[in-house]
């Protein structure tokens, strides 16, 4: 039974190989079936293993082979299926399958070989993500970590003929790599101090590390999470990553890859709870990012960019939860966020598909009549993300906010304000897109139609999950048993249980729900009749231009790097290295040209050379002893 673990990443790997290598010879339907079927098989296997874990506890670590074997350092290629990873497995394979299904319809305009390339990359992505969560040590996690970064690059730049998309893909990859450096340094530090990277061994031996070591390692790991999960300052790649196809945005940049950072910190909760400095850092960066991204989202006009900044903001929430010790709350929010954010992205994709690749919400409006299923599911997603009970977003967000309050009321205050902003910009998006009158061209209006069932079924499933998904985490004060908390407690051992009075907690819930409801009402009233068509002015312009952070990075980092690269190219490469290499060639050809002149054809010259040679030989023969003695003295 436990051997089934190997199958989970194996199916997507095989799907990747078949679709990737056979993309020129397979038909589109075959590619779609193989790609989606692989993930479905993984999902079923994950489900089996999930129930195994739920009923019998964590499965023992399964080791495949020894990956690195150097003197005393042995790193095994091993899988660990415990409560945390089995939950993530379900999320990844379940939502992954829905998105694969959705993609078969969304990408149907592509040629077969590009269709095959798309599905191959998607399967490779799921494979890498599965490696990430299944790994039993930090090195295997890092293999998956890098793999998802690579697939993110490949998929963002899927339509490679567009230069802007390629630039966005490069940006995503490079920013990811900056984070990866932090991760690698943390792994090296662990190896130097503890000689092992296995989770079990590291957490057991964590007491032997000095507090400086712990703080450094956790901060370095968090740098990796900053890059992967788009926190300040490494977040600007995520909005640009919307250049990729919408299902890619849904899978990678909403539900899975960006949650890798949270998984990593939740997995390492033993280490993080030992360092107050890092916890504060994580919480503050999460909080600031959440607020910052929310302020940008209220002025964006591209449907996907709003959702992208929303993702950055919600990830900030998750890090806030981690930073105040509410590990279960953050993982819970990962799950619910995966549901409703994937739903929102797929819904946006449905809208884009119907509007024939139009993405500006100012040209939309009144779509609720023509796209009924998309409308209802998108509305459900908006309600869920705004934290209105009893939808799932409420329970997870509330858990994080309660833990934040226990830590510091200021954290809670900023968090609630951000929640209000979240509700506001989501319903601004909803109202501008679906309510009011249609503002597009006549042609677009004629082509408006609901999407095919391959696209609407995932929407419906995700909507149901967004509504019901919160029920596994109903807190005790509302009458639930918080099954998720009990399920994850063997892994999230250092969870901090906050003690807040019931009365206070009800008040907190009430305030956040009321604020969200007011924000929703304001947004709908403001935007349903008369949407914001003009370009923003004043402070709004700063928000619409994303606080000019991209321009700042451009000036501080990108331009100096480019200048340095140009310098290296011209001075060192062209004049230096090329000069030397070409110089050798030029020298040889010069020498041979001079040698050729000896062959004059003049007999006299040849005789002269003979005579000179004989004279030299005579001299050497006469003075042999002297010459040998000089050479010996020179070389000694």
């Amino acid at each position: 039974m436990s051997k089934l673990v190997y199958l989970i990443p194996l199916f997507p790997l095989i799907g990747f190989l078949i679709n990737g290598l056979g993309r020129k010879s397979l038909s589109k339907s075959a590619i779609g079936v193989i790609g989606s079927g692989a993930i479905l098989a993984s999902f079923v296997t994950s489900l089996v293993l999930f129930f195994e874990v739920k009923n019998h506890g964590a499965i023992p670590v399964q080791q495949l082979f020894t990956f690195i074997d150097v003197q005393t350092l042995k790193i095994a290629f091993a899988f660990q299926v415990d409560q945390l990873s089995s939950l993530f497995l379900l999320i990844i394979t379940g939502i992954g399958f829905l998105i694969h299904l959705y993609s078969t319809a969304y990408m149907h305009e592509e040629e077969p070989q590009h269709f095959g390339r798309y599905f191959a990359y998607l399967n490779l992505f799921v494979f890498s993500m599965l490696l990430l969560v299944l790994g039993a040590n930090y090195v295997i996690m890092f293999i998956g970590w890098e793999g998802v970064g690579l697939c993110s690059y490949l998929l963002i730049g899927y339509w490679f003929k567009n230069d802007n998309y390629n630039y966005a893909a490069k940006k995503a990859f490079v920013m990811n790599r900056i984070g990866d450096l932090g991760f690698l340094l943390a792994v090296f530090w662990l190896i130097v101090r503890l000689g092992t990277v296995n989770y079990a061994d590291v957490f057991a031996a964590a007491n032997h590390l000095s507090s400086f070591d712990i703080t450094a390692i956790t901060i370095l790991l968090f740098v990796g999470a900053m890059g992967k999960s788009a926190q300040i300052p490494l977040y600007t790649w995520l909005p640009d990553a919307m250049a990729g196809p919408t299902p890619v945005s849904a899978l990678i940049h909403a539900a899975t890859m960006v949650t890798a950072g949270i998984y990593m910190i939740a997995r390492s909760n033993v280490l993080y709870s030992m360092s107050h400095v890092t916890m504060n850092l994580v919480a503050i960066i999460g909080l600031v990012t959440a607020l910052f991204a929310a302020t940008i989202a209220i002025k964006q006009n591209d449907i996907k960019k709003v959702l992208a900044y929303s993702t950055v903001s919600q990830l900030g929430y998750m890090f806030l939860g981690l930073g105040v010790g509410a590990y279960t709350g953050s993982v819970f929010h990962v799950m619910t966020h995966a549901f409703f954010k994937a739903l929102l992205f797929l819904g946006a994709g449905s809208v884009i598909h119907a509007m024939h690749h139009e993405q500006d919400i100012r040209n939309m409006g009144g779509l609720k009549k023509k796209l009924p299923i998309t409308h209802i599911t998108f509305l459900i997603g908006c309600i869920a993300i705004s934290g209105i009970p009893p939808f799932s977003g409420f329970f997870s967000k509330d858990e994080i906010l309660a833990a934040a309050y226990a830590h510091s009321p200021i954290y809670w205050g900023v968090g609630v304000a951000t929640a209000g902003l979240t509700a506001f910009y989501m319903f601004r998006l909803y109202a501008t897109t679906f309510l009011g009158t249609f503002r597009g061209t006549h042609d677009q209006e004629h082509h408006l139609h609901e999407s095919p069932s391959a696209m609407t079924i995932p929407l419906i499933v995700l909507a149901a999950l967004s509504v019901l998904g919160g029920l596994i985490g109903v807190p005790e004060i509302l009458g639930g048993h918080h099954e998720l908390h009990h399920f994850l407690s063997p892994v999230l051992t250092t969870e901090q249980h906050h003690e807040i009075e019931h009365g206070t907690e009800f008040m907190l819930m009430g305030i956040s729900v009321a604020l969200a409801a007011i924000a929703i009402a304001v947004a709908i009233l403001r935007y349903s009749k008369k949407p914001e068509m003009a370009d923003a002015t004043g402070f709004g312009k700063v928000l619409a231009n994303k606080w000019y952070v991209d321009e700042l990075y451009d000036a501080i980092v990108v331009k100096p790097l480019n200048a340095m690269a140009v310098f290296f190219k011209n001075i060192i490469e062209k004049s230096g290295i090329d000069g030397v290499v070409n110089g050798v060639g030029k020298f040889v050809s010069y020498g041979s040209r001079q040698m050729r002149l000896l062959q004059s054809g003049q007999v006299n010259a040849y005789v002269l050379m003979m005579v000179l040679a004989m004279v030299v030989m005579l001299l050497i023969w006469l003075q042999e002893g002297f010459i040998v003695k000089t050479f010996v003295k020179l070389f000694n």
Binding site: Q599, S600, G601, Q602, V603, N604, V607, L608, V611
Partner: protein
């Protein structure tokens, strides 16, 4: 006569021969200079042979040391004769083809 006189004479003759080979334009003159070199060497060999025989004779009236020098001269003369015949044959062929005996004319080896 002291042996040095013979050595100087042979050296002078040999040098003149070498310089002649290097400098002269006419192929037949070049051959004459080669003969000159060979004769200089012959002279030297005979002189040394006499010197060694004289030294050995003064000590022992029946010794035959130093004959090898004169023997070698015969060989050289035979070789010179053969070489001249071949060389002159080549020059005749050269003249038949190019109507001149100019050495510098033979730069067909250039390319």
């Amino acid at each position: 006569m002291p042996i040095q006189y013979y050595i100087y004479l042979a050296l002078a003759l040999f040098s003149i021969g070498v310089i002649g080979v290097l400098v002269r334009k006419n192929a037949i003159i070049v051959f004459m200079c080669i003969e000159l070199m060979l004769n200089a060497v012959n002279l030297l060999l005979v002189a040394f042979s006499k010197m060694h025989h004289g030294v050995a004779f003064a000590a022992d009236k029946t010794s035959t040391a130093g004959i090898d020098g004169q023997l070698f001269v015969f060989f050289i003369m035979v070789v010179a004769a053969a070489e001249v015949s071949v060389g002159l044959a080549i020059i005749v062929m050269l003249y038949r083809n190019t109507h001149s005996v100019d050495v510098n004319f033979l730069n067909r080896l250039k390319n």
